[in-house]
Amino acid sequence: MKSLMQAVIAILVVCALLFFAADRLESAGSKGNKDTITVFNWGEYIDPDLVKQFTEETGIKVVYETFDSNEAMMTKVQQGGSAYDIAVPSEYTVEMMKEEDLLIPLDHSKLPNLQNIDPYFLDLAFDPGNKYTVPYFWGTVGIVFNPTKVADHLTFTTWKDLWDPSLKGKVFLVDGAREVMGMGLNSLGESLNAKDEQLLRQATDKLITLSPNVKAIIGDEITPLMINNEATVALTWSGQAQDMMWENEDLDFAVPEEGSNLWFDSFVIPKTAANIDGAHAFINFMLDAKNSAQNNDYVGYSTPNRAAMDLMDPEVIEDERFYPSEALRDKLEVYENLGLEWLGKYNEYFLEFKMSIR
């Protein structure tokens, strides 16, 4: 009993000390600012120095919270209970959030830096007139591969190359129903937004013929595997491909010509916002050419900020793999919000394919 009581007291004392320490650290960081905004973003998806700089310039303290999937983020915003002033969803989630009435319209007069954005990335189908969104980063879905380890004739400018018999047990796919089913549909020459049971069936059958080549269907862990030369061919997002190629210079990336996906992550102000002015100030700050260039340096994804691109290393922005020309971009499709029923069907077919890979 004595040792139990001792343990209880020890734990309480340690907690009290830690509370005190955390409190001191937090108040030291904020310097007594009352104005705060809460940014809800993917982890490691912003340069922390910029966040500090924003606080120095405006006096607004930034609380940074992170999420690991669009859907989980949306659930949190939907349920409320926490004041998120800015979130960074992908475009199909923007559509869903619009549908659910979870977004606050932007006041463009407070976002003068919006003019820095390449007009190509404004006024897109998922948000006409940029009523709710400001583009943050964009990219494609394609194939990252190791040219030193695959047969020379494989350039992955066509999806067919994935079916090449020499790739038996070598292909890694990203664990996303839209991405994989989309690839199946694209390889048949169909739209990756198809709402047609028969086409989905065909795409699934086509994918099942790919099974012998598929080593694994995984998520973000693909990055270390590609870097370590564990994997030779992977279907993934361009942003991750950029991360991989940064670390492993042998790798190459291609977006097949039959078409693929074009994606956007955007700033939005969700309904939960408590400091709408602060949120606008933050978005505008991030749109600044210099800041955006600096952020791009840190994150490494493709930026839609034209003014920032002028400040960046020309080698980066001239890389057609990550900044494809407009002609190429026009072949790509943006995910449409399929609605839950069709999303469910895509997932059921994807599950069927997944169960076939062993």
Binding site: W42, T223, N228
Partner: protein
Amino acid sequence: MRKLSIGSRLYLVIVFFILYAPIFYLIYYSFNSGGSMNEFESFTLEHYKAVFEDSRLIVILINTVIIALLSGLIATVIGTLGAIGIVSIKDKKMRNTLLSLNNVLIVSPDVVIGASFLILFTMIGVKLGFASVLVSHVAFSVPIVVLMVLPKLLEMNTSLIDAARDLGASKKDVLTRVILPYIQPGIFAGFFLALTYSLDDFAVTFFVTGNGFSTLSVEIYSMARAGITLTINAISGLVFLVTVLVVIGYYYFNNRAKLKNGEVRR
């Protein structure tokens, strides 16, 4: 006490080696100047420097530890009392029902727990943050405590309690002088495994947190998309080192104190 044979020593060495291998792997790469857990380039301490410069990360770490310790403590109290209550139930059906209910949270995937707790909290109107995370961690740690305490209680000889009662011990005395000391190893086991549950939880915390409160797990999981930085390796390495030192230090002093007092370690 008989000495362990070479074979059994070797067995233990292998088990320990495997348990610690991934941790040493993480720590090894925390000294990598290369920036990721691939190819070791050259030795650097920059990631450790980064830990101390990042006050947000340190606050998150402190939050994580506070939540783990407090939730572990509260869950241990509730769980221990619950386990004592469960064994006192005579009705076998009732007992099994309680035990089944106890295990529901162990079998439920984190998303289900997280989502239903979130709905629960927003229904009641609880402000999301420290309190909601703490309560949730207590909630999912209680069952493991019960399951750790239960076998000790079942082994306990009832005649011990009867004897104590016959000798005029009050209910409270029976609890504090007879039952608790006997089941103490189970209580500690429950507490330590509750810490494991709490420290490892991502999904539940993610759903029920808010207003800037975050734990290390949430940070780490949401970094996966853009790549986990070696700063995280460094902070984990530090946590690991401190934990090992605290445990060994505590054990050493405790033993010495006991020797001084002439107590025999049970």
